[in-house]
């Protein structure tokens, strides 16, 4: 049963990857990548139950969830604003920053 779940998850991950490669717009790609990371979390958890050491694998899955969220936010920010650091308008010049 768990092996079947793993197979179904792998197939759906392949479909998400296909959408990420083909996706006409950047939002399709980001959404596909996000779905891929969610399915990876499910895959890790199912694998943990298959191996029989679920308590270790759930820790890793939790970690993957948090990092996947941060990665999605970062990619969205770069695609929307073109930079990682500034929250709004650029305030200081590089010369001022080097004096800090």
């Amino acid at each position: 049963m768990l092996t079947l779940i793993l197979l179904v998850l792998l197939v759906s991950m392949a479909l998400a990857l296909l959408r990420a490669v083909k996706g006409p717009t950047v939002y399709d790609r980001i959404l596909a990548a996000n779905a891929f990371s969610t399915k990876t979390v499910l895959l890790i958890t199912a694998l943990g139950f298959l191996v029989g050491e679920a308590e270790y694998y759930i820790d890793i899955a939790l970690m993957y969830t948090l990092v996947g969220f941060i990665a999605t936010v970062a990619v969205l920010k770069v695609s929307e604003f073109g930079n990682l650091g500034q929250s709004g308008a650029v305030r200081s010049t590089p010369a001022e920053q080097s004096h800090k």
């Binding site: 073109g82 650091g85 929250s87 305030r91 200081s92 920053q97 800090k100």
Partner: protein, 139 residues
């Protein structure tokens, strides 16, 4: 990105969870998956998420450039200090048996301090790298 209310609220909720999880990975590393390096990276990831939403200047309020430099050196000093402590105790470098009367207690204390040093250094270096990349202003 500060004006996006969903992102702002979710970030404020999730950042403490990430930090607590990093401490769990740090101090539970003897019994489960984890350790100093992973905990340091997760700890830095929490601050990176905050900086993504509220701007990289927000990190300056907690970790200024000077604080990060001191933390980088402090973790390394802790690591090397444990090694020299065991040398003073009459054992080889990083042989934790010398740290306490009981070898088991010494092993626990040694791995705890060494992993703590690794965690502090890795967290500081990761935040430094992010600030160095994201703090640049476009020409």
């Amino acid at each position: 990105m500060k004006d996006n209310v969903v992102l702002r609220v979710v970030t404020k909720i999730i950042v403490p969870v990430i930090l607590v999880f990093s401490l769990y990975v740090q101090f539970h590393g003897d019994y489960g998956p984890g350790g100093g390096f992973q905990a340091g990276v997760i700890f830095a990831a929490g601050f990176i998420l905050y900086a993504l939403v509220f701007g990289v200047e927000a990190i300056d309020r907690v970790f200024s450039a000077a604080t990060l430099r001191i933390m980088t050196a402090l973790g390394l000093l802790l690591f090397a200090g444990v090694g020299f402590w065991s040398l003073i105790g009459g054992e080889r470098y990083l042989d934790y048996d010398a740290l306490a009367q009981e070898p088991l207690v010494g092993q626990h204390l040694g791995i705890f301090l060494v992993e703590l040093g690794v965690g502090i250094t890795v967290a500081a270096v990761m935040i430094t790298v992010f600030v160095a990349f994201a703090g640049r202003t476009p020409d």
